[in-house]
Amino acid sequence: MQLIVNEPQAHRFEVNRAALIDPDIFAREREKVFERCWLYVGHESEVREPGDFRTRIVCGRPILFCRDSASELRVFLNTCRHRGAVVCREPEGNAKRHTCFYHGWTYDRDGKLYAIPGQDAYPPSFDRAQYGLQPPPRVDSYRGFIFLNFDRNAPSLRDYLGKAVEYIDLVLDQSPTGRMEVIHGTQEYDIKANWKLLVENSFDDYHLITTHATWLDYLKNSGVQVRKPEKGHVLPSHGLGKDLGGGHGTTDNVNFRGRPVAAWIPIYGDAAKPELDRIRQEITTRLGEERAKRVCDTNRNLLIFPSLVLLDGSSVSIRSFQPVAPDRMRVRAWALGPVEETPLARQVRLDSFLTFYGPGGFATPDDIEALESVQQGVGSYKEVQWSPITRGIAKEGEQLNTDEAHLRAFWTQWDKLMRQP
């Protein structure tokens, strides 16, 4: 089945809606895309001390990540080597050892099989050293972001991320030491839609004016300057959509919405103004005027293919999502902040987050509504088969955030992986 029509000369780019709903495509996707790409596990700051651990599901696999006795970061497949039960069943905590409750096999925090009840019944050839918790085939991290890959032959994480690191680095420049931490409190929710719709939605700015009309009104009513779009623009400020290669892409937008680092808006309150000035001053001194402007006055929604998004707008959020069914995904979102942040700056960051993002924010619920509406609509995929993704395709030069070059880049990479043997 042809999933993408990509004829740039004819200005055609269309996606077959079956890609959003067909169960066979969904099954193939796990094998061809998710089992071959670097997938987000978590952030180093979520486990700090020896024995600290977190568990979560990545691509259907229960995962345990933790600090071992030497405080090194470890990632394991959270399945007992004996019968397969999930060994650690708590979402987070600190433990010296992890015991599978089913038959009592106990692993230490380095993953080694520490003890088993009644070992003498096993044959002499039974070697406990062979039955430690198994790590995923590949694990690596980039500046605190931990990834795994189920494909032993995958390229290195650094090569995989390619040009996307430029934008990760830009986010991390908010911190004087380049270190950001995940703040307590996870937003975990399902969307009854295909995961690729959230990819599109996360960096498609074309929907902003209509889907988020009430959010824009909220900004205006709160004294934020929201300009009328200039000619050729849909949005109040100039912004680009960028294909970063490898399916990664980002928006790169001039800010108008306020940024905790560091563009004050009235919503933050007068008391926060000097603090934001101070933050900006530090960044300008450290990075110079030009880079400081990029850090403080531009927003980006960065997609790390296939399903990790760094939102750097009203706040910074890590948004990671997992397909559960063709018409269902599970989303996890966290707030990320500089480790050095003052209590006041942290408060602004968290408060600003909630103006837009999350299941109770003034914008994300409307995104979810849009995606679920699309999912229902594409029920007619056999009759209405193709969706055009052609905004900007006939244009020379820069592609705007409301064009769709970055969406085409995602779909092209997805299609390429789906067609590999």
Partner: protein, 159 residues
């Protein structure tokens, strides 16, 4: 000041629930003090402070009013058409007298379109201010029991 009459508090919370279930949001706003807060913590951090932890909702009175403005607008797509909700409040306890702190269990059923019903189960924490023979709400926090929001999806209505 004597002991607060639990039945009066209960009647007040039933009144609030009726206003919210019938989307009489301006009348609901009138139940709040000028410094009221409304909070829903993240499911994995039910005992937290929004200054240091990520919540789902942490509104001050200005944000509450903005939320009502938004919810009354047909462009609040997540609630247009609106959810139908039905709240059941029970196990009310007065846990402090000065200030007056009240806790109660809730089940809120939410129906929307042809969706399956969604059941929001948890407990409320209120700080109430006695005024004019009734009460005003100074703070209300809705703490969900679900380990994750999961299939509940959003908290786009007032929980």
């Amino acid at each position: 000041m004597g002991q607060t009459d639990a039945a009066a508090v209960e009647a007040f919370l039933y009144h609030e629930a009726a206003l919210l279930d019938s989307w009489k949001l301006d009348e609901w706003l009138a139940l709040l003090t000028e410094d009221a807060t409304y909070r829903v913590p993240s499911n994995d951090r039910p005992e937290s402070d929004p200054k240091t932890a990520l919540f789902m909702i942490a509104d001050d009175i200005r944000r509450i009013r903005a939320r009502v403005t938004r919810l009354k607008d047909p462009h609040a797509h997540a609630e247009y058409p609106r959810s139908r909700t039905r709240r059941f409040i029970s196990n009310l306890r007065i846990v402090g007298e000065s200030p007056l702190r009240v806790e109660a269990n809730f089940i809120v059923y939410r129906f929307r379109g042809n969706d399956d019903k969604r059941e929001y189960v948890g407990h409320y924490r209120y700080t109430l201010v006695p005024r004019d023979g009734t009460f005003r709400i100074q703070s209300r926090e809705a703490i969900l029991d679900a380990m994750e929001l999961a299939s509940l999806g959003t908290v786009s209505f007032i929980l």
